[in-house]
């Protein structure tokens, strides 16, 4: 059994099957890309895992304990943290304070939280901008800030929801570098992207979902040759 396991997870909105019988496993320190066309149910899957939605059926295990339908705050405290498609920065505080909020997940002491936050900012390369108001930073920095914030919570697994979309190629490159560095911390990663070129080089494994169902799961090279995957991205050759 891996670090994290999803078993037959379903999420229905009325008749719409947004996530349908998805199951997969994540091992410790593994980087897994989760890809699929728009509306495939990637973000819904994230929301189910992190407690923002209640799963219709199915089970989720983390470190061999069931975490299905726990509240998102307790899931975060257990060690699964996520970022959002829209960064959702705390705009009423500066960059450092944003990260301190994350660090407070494991400590009650402001000094210790600040130290942890500075570590996380160092790691993500935002240390120069720690005193900036979070209104003043670019989208790329905002996305990195949300990664720093999540790192400060001392997670064992991070779910990145399109951390690199909307960035210029140059910004995306440095973002990929940072994310690659996370591997050295032995933190598992699930990366949602719909741009294949970003996910393929950094992932150990790629999971492809389409209309809520898992259609492929394997090493990037193998998946990119999968007929069904090519069909869903390029359209079928009926």
């Amino acid at each position: 059994m891996g670090l994290f396991e999803v078993k037959n997870l379903c999420k229905f909105f009325g008749g719409l099957k947004a996530v349908n019988l998805v199951d997969f496993t994540i091992n410790k320190g593994e980087i897994v890309g989760l890809i699929g066309p728009n509306g495939a149910g990637k973000t819904t899957l994230f929301n189910c895992i992190t407690g923002f939605y209640r799963a219709t059926s199915g089970k989720i295990f983390f470190k061999e304990k069931e975490i299905t339908n726990l509240s998102s705050e307790s899931i975060c405290r257990k060690g699964i943290a996520r970022t959002f498609q829209i960064p959702r920065t705390f705009k009423n505080m500066n960059v450092l304070d944003n990260v301190i909020i994350g660090a407070f997940c494991r400590t009650n002491n402001l000094k210790e939280a600040t130290r942890k936050a500075l570590d996380a900012l160092n790691f993500t390369g935002l240390i120069d901008k720690k005193d900036y108001s979070s209104n003043e930073i670019t989208l790329a920095d905002e996305k990195m800030l949300s990664v720093a914030r999540v790192l400060a919570t001392d997670p064992e697994m991070i779910l990145l929801d399109e951390a690199m979309s909307g960035l210029t190629p140059l910004e995306a490159e440095s973002a990929i570098k940072t994310i690659g560095k996370i591997r050295s911390l032995k933190i598992s990663l699930i990366i949602v992207e719909h741009v294949m070129e970003i996910v393929m080089p950094i992932s150990d494994r790629v999971i492809v979902i389409r209309t809520g169902e898992k259609i492929a799961d394997g090493p990037p090279l193998e998946v990119s040759r999968n007929k069904e995957v090519i069909e869903s991205y390029l359209g079928g050759a009926n």
Binding site: R88, F90, N92, N108, R149, V150
Partner: protein
């Protein structure tokens, strides 16, 4: 723990020290009773603002803080009138009762989001007022007089001959609440409240239990407000729904905090000075009939704040500080 109550930067420490000396010496220099009364009002509103501020910093808008104010006053005073319980003890009992009421109210009402919560708090205060008006035991609409003491006594919380002891008591209460809220805003809890205000989803994803935080905030807020209610009752020695369960009290608590600067420790005291002084100036120069004018000026102040300075007076300072830091960072590059 004790150290972190006194987290202030150098400028703040100096202002605090000078302010304390000034306000302690003030009643010995001014013999004008009205001026003392004015200072009491300012500190009363400032403390109410501090109370509102704690909840407000989480982005929760309460328009019914008079509910806690009134229940605090009525509980302690009724204990005094009917059971002869010392008002100090009554104050503590009222505060504890309000702590639990705050938690219950929070648990019930925080299912409602935003404006719906605000509306519900108005309803809560109005219900309390209607109950009190129609309840003869607690004086109904006419109200109740508190038993008068013959002479000044700290233990009975009554000073018929002078306002100065009241001034020092409210100053003490204000200082305690000020330090408590400073402690809160420099602690995990305060950071969490601000995070909840900025983005509830992000807050949840970072392990913040939103409801729990809000419930604690409203409970603390209710305790402050309750203590102010008891103080006011002992100050005017007359209990009536028209003094303690009025929408104006809720409004004052809100305005003091918003004008001064939401989520800042210093905001409410600045807001209280501005609002009380403007209203008193209008009353002095235009007289009793000019009373509506100060309300109009409040309206204008609120509009100006909302349009030009949504972060309140303290926001000006914070913005400046950020600018300086920004320049420093730029220069270093």
């Amino acid at each position: 723990m004790i150290k972190s109550i006194f987290i202030f930067n150098k400028v703040e420490k100096i202002i605090l020290l000078l302010g304390m000396i000034f306000f302690i010496l003030l009643p010995f220099c001014i013999k004008n009773i009205f001026a003392i009364h004015l200072m009491i009002t300012i500190f009363l509103y400032a403390t109410m603002g501090l109370s509102w501020n704690i909840l407000g910093s989480a982005g929760v808008v309460s328009l019914g803080h008079t509910f806690f104010f009134g229940t605090g006053a009525y509980i302690s005073s009724c204990l005094l009138i009917f059971f002869g319980i010392n008002p100090w003890i009554g104050m503590i009992i009222a505060a504890v009762v309000n702590l639990f009421i705050g938690m219950i109210v929070g648990n019930l009402f925080f299912k409602l989001a935003g404006h719906y919560f605000a509306i519900t708090t108005i309803a809560l205060a109005e219900i309390a007022r209607t109950i009190v008006i129609n309840w003869p035991v607690v004086g109904g609409a006419v109200g109740l007089f508190l038993p008068f003491a013959e002479k000044d006594s700290l233990s009975n919380f009554q000073f018929p001959s002078s306002k100065i002891p009241y001034y020092f008591i409210i100053l003490l209460f204000f200082c305690i609440c000020f330090l408590v809220s400073n402690f809160i805003f420099n602690s995990k809890f305060g950071y969490y409240l601000k995070a909840i205000k900025a983005s509830p989803e992000a807050a949840r994803s970072l392990g913040i239990d939103i409801k729990q935080c809000k419930v604690i905030a409203i409970a603390i807020s209710a305790v402050f407000m309750s203590i102010m209610g008891t103080f006011m009752a002992q100050y005017v020695l007359y209990l009536s729904p028209e003094t303690f369960f009025v929408f104006n009290i809720s409004l004052y608590a809100l305005m003091v905090a918003v004008v001064g600067g939401l989520g800042t420790t210093w905001g409410p005291i600045i807001g209280a000075f501005i609002l009380v002084l403007t209203s008193e100036v209008f009353r002095i120069y235009i007289g009793g009939t000019g009373r509506a004018l100060d309300l109009m000026v409040y309206g204008i102040i609120i509009m100006l704040i909302a349009v030009f300075q949504p972060t309140g007076i303290m926001g000006i300072k914070i913005r400046k500080k950020n600018k300086i830091k920004f320049k420093k960072v730029e220069a270093r590059r």
